[in-house]
Amino acid sequence: MKSPIISFENITYKYEDGTIALKDIILSIEHGKKIALIGNNGAGKSTLFLLLNGILKPTSGHIKYKGKKLSYTRKQIKHLRQQVGIVFQNPDTQLFSSSVYEDIRYGPKNLGLSSEKLKKTVHEAMILTETEYLKDKPPHFLSIGQKKRVTIAGIIAMNPELLVLDEPTAGLDPYYSEKVMLLLDNIHNKNRTVLISTHNVNLAYEWADEVFILDNGKIIEQGSPIEVFNNLEAIKQSHLERPWIMDICQNLNLLEKDYPKSKKELLEMMKLYSIQKDK
Protein backbone atom coordinates (compact mmCIF):
# COMPACT_ATOMS: atom_id res chain seq x y z
CA MET A 1 0.00 0.00 0.00
CA LYS A 2 1.17 3.52 -0.79
CA SER A 3 1.90 5.69 2.17
CA PRO A 4 -0.50 8.60 2.58
CA ILE A 5 0.28 11.88 0.78
CA ILE A 6 0.37 13.77 4.01
CA SER A 7 -0.12 12.77 7.58
CA PHE A 8 -0.38 14.92 10.69
CA GLU A 9 1.00 13.47 13.89
CA ASN A 10 -0.25 15.23 17.00
CA ILE A 11 -0.16 18.63 15.36
CA THR A 12 -0.80 21.63 17.57
CA TYR A 13 -0.72 25.17 16.28
CA LYS A 14 -0.73 28.19 18.51
CA TYR A 15 -1.01 31.78 17.32
CA GLU A 16 1.21 34.52 18.60
CA ASP A 17 -1.49 35.97 20.83
CA GLY A 18 -1.85 32.59 22.52
CA THR A 19 -4.97 31.38 20.73
CA ILE A 20 -4.76 27.67 20.06
CA ALA A 21 -5.98 27.12 16.52
CA LEU A 22 -5.39 23.38 16.31
CA LYS A 23 -5.10 20.88 19.13
CA ASP A 24 -3.37 17.55 18.79
CA ILE A 25 -4.58 16.79 15.29
CA ILE A 26 -4.04 13.28 13.96
CA LEU A 27 -4.97 12.96 10.32
CA SER A 28 -3.89 11.23 7.19
CA ILE A 29 -4.73 12.06 3.64
CA GLU A 30 -4.57 9.09 1.27
CA HIS A 31 -4.19 9.02 -2.48
CA GLY A 32 -7.20 9.31 -4.76
CA LYS A 33 -9.80 10.41 -2.21
CA LYS A 34 -12.54 13.00 -2.26
CA ILE A 35 -12.44 14.54 1.18
CA ALA A 36 -14.74 17.13 2.69
CA LEU A 37 -13.61 19.03 5.74
CA ILE A 38 -16.57 20.46 7.60
CA GLY A 39 -16.34 22.97 10.36
CA ASN A 40 -17.89 26.23 11.42
CA ASN A 41 -16.17 29.59 11.15
CA GLY A 42 -13.07 29.77 13.26
CA ALA A 43 -12.77 26.01 13.65
CA GLY A 44 -9.20 26.13 12.32
CA LYS A 45 -9.70 25.13 8.69
CA SER A 46 -7.53 27.84 7.17
CA THR A 47 -4.74 27.14 9.63
CA LEU A 48 -4.91 23.46 8.75
CA PHE A 49 -4.61 24.29 5.05
CA LEU A 50 -1.61 26.55 5.51
CA LEU A 51 0.09 23.76 7.45
CA LEU A 52 -0.54 21.39 4.53
CA ASN A 53 1.69 23.31 2.15
CA GLY A 54 4.27 24.47 4.61
CA ILE A 55 3.34 28.15 4.88
CA LEU A 56 2.90 27.66 8.61
CA LYS A 57 5.01 25.42 10.80
CA PRO A 58 3.31 23.49 13.60
CA THR A 59 4.00 24.58 17.17
CA SER A 60 4.35 20.94 18.16
CA GLY A 61 4.01 17.56 16.52
CA HIS A 62 5.20 16.76 13.04
CA ILE A 63 3.94 16.46 9.52
CA LYS A 64 4.93 13.57 7.29
CA TYR A 65 4.95 13.92 3.55
CA LYS A 66 4.82 10.49 1.87
CA GLY A 67 6.04 8.87 5.05
CA LYS A 68 8.99 11.21 5.47
CA LYS A 69 9.13 13.81 8.17
CA LEU A 70 9.03 17.38 6.84
CA SER A 71 12.19 19.27 7.69
CA TYR A 72 11.26 22.56 5.97
CA THR A 73 14.37 22.84 3.83
CA ARG A 74 13.99 25.07 0.76
CA LYS A 75 14.03 22.16 -1.60
CA GLN A 76 11.46 20.21 0.35
CA ILE A 77 9.16 23.21 0.66
CA LYS A 78 9.33 23.78 -3.07
CA HIS A 79 8.45 20.17 -3.74
CA LEU A 80 5.66 20.21 -1.17
CA ARG A 81 4.08 23.36 -2.58
CA GLN A 82 4.05 21.88 -6.04
CA GLN A 83 2.37 18.72 -4.79
CA VAL A 84 -0.14 20.47 -2.53
CA GLY A 85 -2.09 23.16 -4.37
CA ILE A 86 -4.40 25.46 -2.45
CA VAL A 87 -7.27 27.41 -3.96
CA PHE A 88 -8.07 30.12 -1.43
CA GLN A 89 -11.56 31.19 -0.59
CA ASN A 90 -11.25 34.76 -1.80
CA PRO A 91 -10.30 34.63 -5.49
CA ASP A 92 -9.33 38.29 -5.42
CA THR A 93 -6.23 37.74 -3.36
CA GLN A 94 -5.16 34.84 -5.48
CA LEU A 95 -5.39 36.57 -8.83
CA PHE A 96 -2.47 38.97 -8.71
CA SER A 97 -1.22 38.98 -12.29
CA SER A 98 -2.29 41.38 -14.99
CA SER A 99 -4.08 38.90 -17.22
CA VAL A 100 -5.80 35.55 -16.82
CA TYR A 101 -3.21 33.81 -18.97
CA GLU A 102 -0.32 35.19 -16.97
CA ASP A 103 -1.97 34.27 -13.73
CA ILE A 104 -2.45 30.65 -14.71
CA ARG A 105 1.13 30.57 -15.96
CA TYR A 106 2.59 31.90 -12.70
CA GLY A 107 2.82 28.59 -10.82
CA PRO A 108 4.10 26.31 -13.60
CA LYS A 109 6.54 29.00 -14.69
CA ASN A 110 8.01 29.06 -11.22
CA LEU A 111 8.44 25.30 -11.53
CA GLY A 112 10.89 26.04 -14.33
CA LEU A 113 9.10 24.29 -17.22
CA SER A 114 10.37 24.81 -20.75
CA SER A 115 8.38 27.38 -22.69
CA GLU A 116 6.77 24.78 -24.93
CA LYS A 117 5.74 22.61 -22.04
CA LEU A 118 4.56 25.67 -20.20
CA LYS A 119 2.27 26.66 -23.05
CA LYS A 120 0.83 23.17 -23.23
CA THR A 121 0.22 22.91 -19.48
CA VAL A 122 -1.50 26.27 -19.30
CA HIS A 123 -3.59 25.46 -22.34
CA GLU A 124 -4.74 22.15 -20.86
CA ALA A 125 -5.64 23.80 -17.58
CA MET A 126 -7.69 26.41 -19.43
CA ILE A 127 -9.53 23.80 -21.49
CA LEU A 128 -10.37 21.78 -18.40
CA THR A 129 -11.73 24.78 -16.54
CA GLU A 130 -13.35 26.41 -19.60
CA THR A 131 -11.43 29.62 -19.13
CA GLU A 132 -9.76 29.85 -22.51
CA TYR A 133 -12.04 32.62 -23.77
CA LEU A 134 -11.02 34.76 -20.79
CA LYS A 135 -7.31 34.41 -21.55
CA ASP A 136 -6.47 38.07 -22.23
CA LYS A 137 -8.81 39.68 -19.73
CA PRO A 138 -7.50 41.29 -16.57
CA PRO A 139 -8.67 39.33 -13.51
CA HIS A 140 -10.63 42.21 -11.98
CA PHE A 141 -12.96 42.26 -15.00
CA LEU A 142 -14.28 38.77 -14.30
CA SER A 143 -17.37 37.65 -12.44
CA ILE A 144 -16.89 35.65 -9.25
CA GLY A 145 -17.74 32.39 -11.01
CA GLN A 146 -15.13 33.09 -13.67
CA LYS A 147 -12.55 34.15 -11.12
CA LYS A 148 -13.07 30.94 -9.22
CA ARG A 149 -12.44 28.85 -12.31
CA VAL A 150 -9.30 30.81 -13.13
CA THR A 151 -7.91 30.28 -9.63
CA ILE A 152 -8.57 26.56 -9.98
CA ALA A 153 -6.86 26.56 -13.38
CA GLY A 154 -3.82 28.24 -11.85
CA ILE A 155 -3.46 25.42 -9.36
CA ILE A 156 -4.25 22.57 -11.77
CA ALA A 157 -1.54 23.85 -14.07
CA MET A 158 0.96 22.90 -11.36
CA ASN A 159 -0.37 19.34 -11.43
CA PRO A 160 -0.53 18.74 -7.67
CA GLU A 161 -1.25 15.38 -6.04
CA LEU A 162 -3.40 17.04 -3.44
CA LEU A 163 -5.73 19.82 -4.44
CA VAL A 164 -7.11 21.80 -1.53
CA LEU A 165 -10.05 24.16 -2.04
CA ASP A 166 -11.26 26.49 0.67
CA GLU A 167 -15.03 26.89 0.30
CA PRO A 168 -15.07 26.32 -3.47
CA THR A 169 -18.77 27.18 -3.80
CA ALA A 170 -18.89 30.21 -1.51
CA GLY A 171 -20.57 33.14 -3.24
CA LEU A 172 -21.46 31.18 -6.36
CA ASP A 173 -24.94 30.76 -7.76
CA PRO A 174 -26.33 27.19 -7.97
CA TYR A 175 -25.41 26.87 -11.64
CA TYR A 176 -21.75 27.77 -11.11
CA SER A 177 -21.60 25.80 -7.87
CA GLU A 178 -22.60 22.69 -9.71
CA LYS A 179 -20.14 23.46 -12.47
CA VAL A 180 -17.31 23.80 -10.00
CA MET A 181 -18.25 20.54 -8.32
CA LEU A 182 -18.36 18.77 -11.69
CA LEU A 183 -14.96 20.22 -12.45
CA LEU A 184 -13.65 18.82 -9.17
CA ASP A 185 -14.97 15.40 -10.19
CA ASN A 186 -13.06 15.68 -13.45
CA ILE A 187 -9.88 16.72 -11.75
CA HIS A 188 -10.03 13.96 -9.19
CA ASN A 189 -8.36 10.68 -10.19
CA LYS A 190 -6.83 7.68 -8.50
CA ASN A 191 -3.59 9.49 -7.81
CA ARG A 192 -4.97 12.89 -7.06
CA THR A 193 -6.88 13.66 -3.91
CA VAL A 194 -9.24 16.59 -3.77
CA LEU A 195 -9.88 18.13 -0.36
CA ILE A 196 -12.53 20.79 0.09
CA SER A 197 -13.73 22.70 3.08
CA THR A 198 -17.41 23.52 3.23
CA HIS A 199 -20.33 24.38 5.49
CA ASN A 200 -22.72 22.64 3.18
CA VAL A 201 -23.45 19.21 4.66
CA ASN A 202 -25.58 18.15 1.70
CA LEU A 203 -22.77 18.88 -0.68
CA ALA A 204 -20.30 17.01 1.51
CA TYR A 205 -22.65 14.05 1.76
CA GLU A 206 -23.22 13.72 -1.96
CA TRP A 207 -19.75 14.50 -3.21
CA ALA A 208 -17.22 13.20 -0.69
CA ASP A 209 -16.11 9.71 0.08
CA GLU A 210 -14.47 10.78 3.31
CA VAL A 211 -15.59 13.46 5.76
CA PHE A 212 -13.77 15.16 8.61
CA ILE A 213 -15.51 17.35 11.14
CA LEU A 214 -13.26 19.99 12.64
CA ASP A 215 -14.61 21.68 15.72
CA ASN A 216 -12.75 24.20 17.82
CA GLY A 217 -9.34 23.02 16.65
CA LYS A 218 -10.04 19.31 17.06
CA ILE A 219 -11.11 16.62 14.64
CA ILE A 220 -14.16 15.22 16.38
CA GLU A 221 -15.30 12.75 13.76
CA GLN A 222 -13.94 11.22 10.56
CA GLY A 223 -14.97 8.43 8.21
CA SER A 224 -17.41 7.78 5.38
CA PRO A 225 -20.18 10.39 5.05
CA ILE A 226 -22.83 8.00 6.37
CA GLU A 227 -20.76 7.08 9.41
CA VAL A 228 -19.98 10.69 10.17
CA PHE A 229 -23.51 12.01 9.74
CA ASN A 230 -24.89 9.20 11.88
CA ASN A 231 -22.93 10.56 14.80
CA LEU A 232 -25.63 12.90 16.00
CA GLU A 233 -23.65 14.12 18.96
CA ALA A 234 -20.73 15.31 16.85
CA ILE A 235 -23.13 17.04 14.49
CA LYS A 236 -24.84 18.83 17.32
CA GLN A 237 -21.57 19.82 18.96
CA SER A 238 -20.33 21.50 15.80
CA HIS A 239 -23.66 23.22 15.05
CA LEU A 240 -24.29 21.25 11.86
CA GLU A 241 -27.34 19.54 10.44
CA ARG A 242 -27.82 16.10 8.98
CA PRO A 243 -28.03 15.93 5.19
CA TRP A 244 -31.68 16.11 4.15
CA ILE A 245 -31.51 12.83 2.23
CA MET A 246 -30.62 10.95 5.41
CA ASP A 247 -33.39 12.66 7.35
CA ILE A 248 -36.02 11.81 4.78
CA CYS A 249 -34.96 8.20 4.53
CA GLN A 250 -35.15 7.77 8.23
CA ASN A 251 -38.49 9.55 8.62
CA LEU A 252 -40.17 7.57 5.86
CA ASN A 253 -38.64 4.31 7.01
CA LEU A 254 -37.23 3.79 3.58
CA LEU A 255 -34.12 2.17 4.85
CA GLU A 256 -33.70 -1.34 3.65
CA LYS A 257 -30.12 -1.35 2.55
CA ASP A 258 -28.00 1.73 2.29
CA TYR A 259 -28.71 5.42 2.29
CA PRO A 260 -29.10 6.76 -1.26
CA LYS A 261 -26.23 8.96 -2.31
CA SER A 262 -28.14 11.61 -4.28
CA LYS A 263 -31.57 13.03 -5.00
CA LYS A 264 -31.82 10.85 -8.09
CA GLU A 265 -31.10 7.69 -6.15
CA LEU A 266 -33.61 8.69 -3.50
CA LEU A 267 -36.35 9.23 -6.05
CA GLU A 268 -35.67 5.83 -7.62
CA MET A 269 -35.80 4.22 -4.24
CA MET A 270 -39.13 5.87 -3.46
CA LYS A 271 -40.55 4.74 -6.77
CA LEU A 272 -39.48 1.17 -6.11
CA TYR A 273 -40.95 1.39 -2.65
CA SER A 274 -44.35 2.58 -3.86
CA ILE A 275 -44.49 -0.17 -6.50
CA GLN A 276 -43.82 -2.78 -3.81
CA LYS A 277 -46.52 -1.26 -1.65
CA ASP A 278 -49.08 -1.42 -4.44
CA LYS A 279 -48.51 -5.09 -4.88
Binding site: E16, I55, R81, F96, N110, P138, M158
Partner: protein, 257 residues
Protein backbone atom coordinates in the same frame (compact mmCIF):
# COMPACT_ATOMS: atom_id res chain seq x y z
CA UNK B 1 1.96 38.32 13.15
CA UNK B 2 -0.13 40.51 15.37
CA UNK B 3 -0.34 44.05 14.04
CA UNK B 4 0.17 46.98 16.35
CA UNK B 5 -3.42 48.17 16.28
CA UNK B 6 -4.53 44.69 17.38
CA UNK B 7 -2.64 45.21 20.61
CA UNK B 8 -4.65 48.36 21.27
CA UNK B 9 -7.91 46.44 20.98
CA UNK B 10 -6.89 43.65 23.34
CA UNK B 11 -4.84 45.75 25.74
CA UNK B 12 -5.91 45.73 29.39
CA UNK B 13 -5.39 49.52 29.35
CA UNK B 14 -7.99 50.11 26.63
CA UNK B 15 -10.63 50.83 29.26
CA UNK B 16 -8.63 53.65 30.79
CA UNK B 17 -9.94 57.03 29.66
CA UNK B 18 -8.10 58.16 26.51
CA UNK B 19 -7.64 61.71 27.84
CA UNK B 20 -5.78 60.34 30.83
CA UNK B 21 -3.48 58.26 28.67
CA UNK B 22 -2.82 61.02 26.16
CA UNK B 23 -2.22 63.70 28.82
CA UNK B 24 0.12 61.31 30.61
CA UNK B 25 2.15 60.40 27.51
CA UNK B 26 2.17 63.86 25.94
CA UNK B 27 3.30 65.65 29.11
CA UNK B 28 6.18 63.21 29.37
CA UNK B 29 6.95 63.82 25.70
CA UNK B 30 6.89 67.56 26.24
CA UNK B 31 9.30 67.45 29.17
CA UNK B 32 11.64 65.12 27.28
CA UNK B 33 11.85 67.33 24.22
CA UNK B 34 11.99 70.67 26.03
CA UNK B 35 14.52 69.84 28.70
CA UNK B 36 16.71 67.43 26.68
CA UNK B 37 17.68 66.14 30.09
CA UNK B 38 19.11 62.64 30.25
CA UNK B 39 17.48 61.82 33.59
CA UNK B 40 14.06 62.92 32.42
CA UNK B 41 14.47 60.97 29.21
CA UNK B 42 15.45 57.87 31.15
CA UNK B 43 12.53 58.19 33.54
CA UNK B 44 10.10 58.71 30.66
CA UNK B 45 11.47 55.77 28.73
CA UNK B 46 11.38 53.50 31.77
CA UNK B 47 7.83 54.52 32.73
CA UNK B 48 6.40 54.18 29.25
CA UNK B 49 8.15 50.86 28.61
CA UNK B 50 6.89 49.48 31.91
CA UNK B 51 3.41 50.66 31.01
CA UNK B 52 3.58 49.02 27.59
CA UNK B 53 5.10 45.70 28.64
CA UNK B 54 3.50 45.18 32.06
CA UNK B 55 0.40 47.33 31.74
CA UNK B 56 -0.64 46.80 28.13
CA UNK B 57 0.85 43.27 28.07
CA UNK B 58 2.70 43.69 24.79
CA UNK B 59 5.31 40.88 24.61
CA UNK B 60 8.76 42.24 25.40
CA UNK B 61 10.38 40.97 22.20
CA UNK B 62 7.68 42.61 20.09
CA UNK B 63 8.18 45.90 21.88
CA UNK B 64 11.93 45.67 21.36
CA UNK B 65 11.37 45.10 17.68
CA UNK B 66 9.02 48.08 17.51
CA UNK B 67 11.72 50.23 19.11
CA UNK B 68 14.17 49.10 16.46
CA UNK B 69 11.83 50.41 13.77
CA UNK B 70 12.91 54.07 13.99
CA UNK B 71 16.52 53.05 14.64
CA UNK B 72 17.33 53.35 10.95
CA UNK B 73 16.54 57.06 10.98
CA UNK B 74 18.23 57.43 14.31
CA UNK B 75 21.39 55.74 13.07
CA UNK B 76 21.64 57.84 9.94
CA UNK B 77 21.28 61.10 11.85
CA UNK B 78 23.70 59.97 14.55
CA UNK B 79 26.39 59.32 11.95
CA UNK B 80 25.90 62.81 10.56
CA UNK B 81 26.17 64.37 14.02
CA UNK B 82 29.04 62.25 15.26
CA UNK B 83 31.48 62.84 12.42
CA UNK B 84 32.55 66.29 11.42
CA UNK B 85 34.53 67.20 8.35
CA UNK B 86 36.93 70.14 8.23
CA UNK B 87 39.78 71.39 6.02
CA UNK B 88 43.15 70.07 7.16
CA UNK B 89 44.54 73.45 8.16
CA UNK B 90 41.66 74.43 10.42
CA UNK B 91 42.34 73.88 14.09
CA UNK B 92 40.04 71.29 15.53
CA UNK B 93 39.53 71.34 19.24
CA UNK B 94 38.93 68.25 21.38
CA UNK B 95 39.14 65.74 18.57
CA UNK B 96 38.90 62.31 20.17
CA UNK B 97 39.44 60.50 16.93
CA UNK B 98 40.82 61.77 13.69
CA UNK B 99 41.25 60.60 10.14
CA UNK B 100 43.21 62.70 7.73
CA UNK B 101 43.50 62.75 3.98
CA UNK B 102 45.49 65.18 1.83
CA UNK B 103 43.43 68.27 2.42
CA UNK B 104 40.53 67.19 4.65
CA UNK B 105 40.11 65.68 8.06
CA UNK B 106 37.25 63.73 9.55
CA UNK B 107 37.02 63.89 13.30
CA UNK B 108 34.84 63.06 16.29
CA UNK B 109 34.74 65.61 19.07
CA UNK B 110 33.58 65.15 22.65
CA UNK B 111 30.92 67.74 21.95
CA UNK B 112 29.42 65.68 19.14
CA UNK B 113 29.49 62.54 21.27
CA UNK B 114 27.59 64.37 23.95
CA UNK B 115 25.10 65.62 21.37
CA UNK B 116 24.63 62.11 19.94
CA UNK B 117 23.96 60.60 23.35
CA UNK B 118 21.34 63.24 24.03
CA UNK B 119 19.65 62.55 20.73
CA UNK B 120 19.53 58.78 21.27
CA UNK B 121 17.94 59.25 24.70
CA UNK B 122 15.47 61.86 23.55
CA UNK B 123 14.39 59.88 20.50
CA UNK B 124 13.92 56.62 22.38
CA UNK B 125 11.96 58.36 25.13
CA UNK B 126 9.75 60.22 22.65
CA UNK B 127 9.09 57.11 20.60
CA UNK B 128 8.14 55.19 23.72
CA UNK B 129 5.58 57.89 24.57
CA UNK B 130 3.94 57.59 21.16
CA UNK B 131 4.01 53.79 21.30
CA UNK B 132 2.31 54.01 24.68
CA UNK B 133 -0.59 55.89 23.09
CA UNK B 134 -0.80 53.75 19.97
CA UNK B 135 -0.52 50.42 21.76
CA UNK B 136 -3.07 51.16 24.46
CA UNK B 137 -5.69 53.31 22.73
CA UNK B 138 -8.03 51.94 20.04
CA UNK B 139 -8.56 54.15 17.01
CA UNK B 140 -12.11 55.19 17.87
CA UNK B 141 -10.98 56.49 21.26
CA UNK B 142 -8.32 58.59 19.57
CA UNK B 143 -10.93 59.94 17.20
CA UNK B 144 -13.18 60.81 20.09
CA UNK B 145 -10.31 62.76 21.57
CA UNK B 146 -9.58 64.59 18.31
CA UNK B 147 -13.24 65.54 18.08
CA UNK B 148 -13.20 66.88 21.63
CA UNK B 149 -10.18 68.95 20.62
CA UNK B 150 -12.43 70.47 17.93
CA UNK B 151 -10.21 69.62 15.03
CA UNK B 152 -11.81 69.91 11.57
CA UNK B 153 -13.90 66.91 10.53
CA UNK B 154 -11.95 66.54 7.31
CA UNK B 155 -8.71 66.24 9.22
CA UNK B 156 -10.12 63.69 11.64
CA UNK B 157 -11.62 61.54 8.92
CA UNK B 158 -8.46 61.61 6.88
CA UNK B 159 -6.43 60.61 9.92
CA UNK B 160 -8.91 57.85 10.77
CA UNK B 161 -9.00 56.45 7.26
CA UNK B 162 -5.26 56.62 6.82
CA UNK B 163 -4.58 54.84 10.07
CA UNK B 164 -7.20 52.17 9.40
CA UNK B 165 -6.09 51.56 5.84
CA UNK B 166 -2.45 51.08 6.72
CA UNK B 167 -3.52 47.87 8.40
CA UNK B 168 -5.97 46.88 5.67
CA UNK B 169 -3.12 47.26 3.21
CA UNK B 170 -0.80 45.16 5.37
CA UNK B 171 -3.45 42.47 5.57
CA UNK B 172 -3.88 42.44 1.79
CA UNK B 173 -0.12 42.25 1.30
CA UNK B 174 0.03 39.26 3.58
CA UNK B 175 -2.83 37.48 1.81
CA UNK B 176 -1.35 37.98 -1.64
CA UNK B 177 2.09 37.01 -0.36
CA UNK B 178 0.71 33.72 0.96
CA UNK B 179 -1.10 33.02 -2.32
CA UNK B 180 2.11 33.70 -4.24
CA UNK B 181 4.25 31.57 -1.95
CA UNK B 182 1.78 28.73 -2.34
CA UNK B 183 2.47 28.79 -6.03
CA UNK B 184 6.22 28.86 -5.58
CA UNK B 185 6.73 32.59 -5.78
CA UNK B 186 9.87 34.17 -4.29
CA UNK B 187 11.95 31.01 -4.83
CA UNK B 188 14.95 32.62 -6.50
CA UNK B 189 16.12 36.12 -7.32
CA UNK B 190 14.33 36.42 -10.66
CA UNK B 191 11.07 34.95 -9.46
CA UNK B 192 11.36 37.09 -6.34
CA UNK B 193 11.54 40.25 -8.41
CA UNK B 194 8.68 39.22 -10.71
CA UNK B 195 6.52 38.22 -7.75
CA UNK B 196 7.17 41.47 -5.94
CA UNK B 197 6.25 43.40 -9.09
CA UNK B 198 2.99 41.49 -9.43
CA UNK B 199 2.25 42.09 -5.76
CA UNK B 200 2.74 45.84 -6.02
CA UNK B 201 0.72 46.19 -9.23
CA UNK B 202 -2.19 44.13 -7.96
CA UNK B 203 -2.08 46.01 -4.68
CA UNK B 204 -2.56 49.28 -6.57
CA UNK B 205 -5.48 47.92 -8.55
CA UNK B 206 -7.09 46.39 -5.48
CA UNK B 207 -6.63 49.59 -3.47
CA UNK B 208 -8.38 51.68 -6.07
CA UNK B 209 -11.21 49.20 -6.35
CA UNK B 210 -11.57 48.93 -2.59
CA UNK B 211 -11.75 52.71 -2.30
CA UNK B 212 -14.43 52.86 -4.92
CA UNK B 213 -16.44 50.13 -3.18
CA UNK B 214 -16.00 51.88 0.13
CA UNK B 215 -17.22 55.17 -1.33
CA UNK B 216 -20.29 53.39 -2.69
CA UNK B 217 -20.92 51.78 0.68
CA UNK B 218 -20.60 55.12 2.47
CA UNK B 219 -22.88 56.83 -0.04
CA UNK B 220 -25.52 54.11 0.18
CA UNK B 221 -25.64 54.48 3.92
CA UNK B 222 -26.07 58.21 3.61
CA UNK B 223 -22.72 59.08 5.11
CA UNK B 224 -22.18 62.54 3.71
CA UNK B 225 -20.08 63.96 6.43
CA UNK B 226 -19.22 63.17 9.98
CA UNK B 227 -18.53 59.51 9.48
CA UNK B 228 -17.23 59.06 12.96
CA UNK B 229 -19.80 59.39 15.68
CA UNK B 230 -17.96 58.03 18.66
CA UNK B 231 -19.58 57.49 22.01
CA UNK B 232 -17.37 56.91 24.96
CA UNK B 233 -18.57 55.28 28.15
CA UNK B 234 -15.35 55.46 30.11
CA UNK B 235 -15.22 57.50 33.29
CA UNK B 236 -12.32 59.54 34.59
CA UNK B 237 -10.65 58.10 37.65
CA UNK B 238 -9.31 60.43 40.34
CA UNK B 239 -6.66 57.88 41.17
CA UNK B 240 -5.31 58.07 37.62
CA UNK B 241 -5.24 61.88 37.63
CA UNK B 242 -3.41 61.88 40.97
CA UNK B 243 -0.82 59.57 39.40
CA UNK B 244 -0.44 61.79 36.35
CA UNK B 245 -0.06 64.97 38.44
CA UNK B 246 2.48 63.25 40.67
CA UNK B 247 4.41 62.17 37.57
CA UNK B 248 4.40 65.70 36.15
CA UNK B 249 5.52 67.17 39.47
CA UNK B 250 8.42 64.69 39.62
CA UNK B 251 9.51 65.62 36.10
CA UNK B 252 9.14 69.31 36.90
CA UNK B 253 11.28 69.13 40.03
CA UNK B 254 14.01 67.29 38.19
CA UNK B 255 14.05 69.73 35.32
CA UNK B 256 14.15 72.76 37.63
CA UNK B 257 16.84 71.46 39.94
Amino acid sequence: MLKINDYAYISPLKDVHPTEKVVFALSALLFTILTKNLIIASITFATMSTGIVLGAKVPLYRYTRLLLLPSFFLLSSIIAILFSVAPIDSESINALWKFQTDSWQIYVSSYSINEAIHIVFTVLASVSCLYFIILTTPLNHLIWLLQKAHLPTLFIELAGFTYRFIFVLLEKIQEIYIAQSSRLGYQNYRIWLASLGALIVSLFIKSIRTTRDLQIAIDSRGGDEGLYEVELNIKYKQFHWAGIIFFIVVLLTISIS
